[in-house]
Subunit: 116 residues, 2 copies
DNA sequence: CAGTATCCTCTGAGATACTG
DNA sequence: CAGTATCTCAGAGGATACTG
């Protein structure tokens, strides 16, 4: 129970957070996990994101091998984003976050009733 | 598979991220999950954090009911931080992040060998 | 010991307009 | 359609010094 054990827990968590932290990466991956999408569809389905942030975050995700970008030479071009096999290894994190968020919302709502 | 379904996935995730996002909250909770700690012990065991950030993040975590602060009127005072019962509901997220971080590190290291 | 107080930097993120 | 280019700013985060 000393610092070394603590580090073996915290350091991998920091590795993970370095890659997926921020306001948008997990929401984007969540949308893409449901099914692959084109840029504009993502822009529409991830509420509140700007084109600039979406573009930047998709690049980060692609660099880290979590998302694959495919360009179709239609006219005009269409671009499709999909979660890679490696990206799907994040599913347990995504599900855990979603489960907790759902329960948390229920908790907050019930507390509001009591407080007010 | 339309936007509504997407929202039911993304909105709870944003609720969760609003509370635990940032560089320090999950590492702090991880340290406290192993066992409760005093301020200075946390400062030592969460690598790289400053006293200011630790203080701020602990306040946020306390406000959200994830951490409990207990003051002992020793001389000088000692303060103990512990994860609340509600805070422990985050364990699945913490474990998922840690598992993924560990596997990711293995992947990165093996890729480095191939590349170099 | 358990924090505050200052000061500072940097970047995550938004708004708006524009392009191949 | 799928992005870029600017501009802007709040606040996350860090360094250092100080206090009850």
């Amino acid at each position: 129970m000393k610092s070394e054990l603590c580090l073996t827990h915290i350091l991998p968590i920091r590795d993970a957070l370095d890659i997926i932290s921020g306001k948008w990466k997990i929401p984007i991956l969540t949308a893409l996990c449901i099914h692959k999408r084109r840029f504009k569809e993502l822009h529409r389905d991830v509420p509140g994101i700007t084109a600039k942030m979406l573009s930047k975050e998709l690049k980060d995700l692609e660099i880290n091998g979590l998302v694959k970008r495919t360009v179709y030479e239609t006219m005009p071009v269409s671009v499709e984003y999909a979660v890679t096999e490696y990206g799907h290894t994040l599913n347990p994190i995504i599900f855990a976050l979603r489960d907790w968020g759902l329960k948390h919302r229920v908790k907050i709502l019930s507390e509001d009733k009591v407080e007010v």
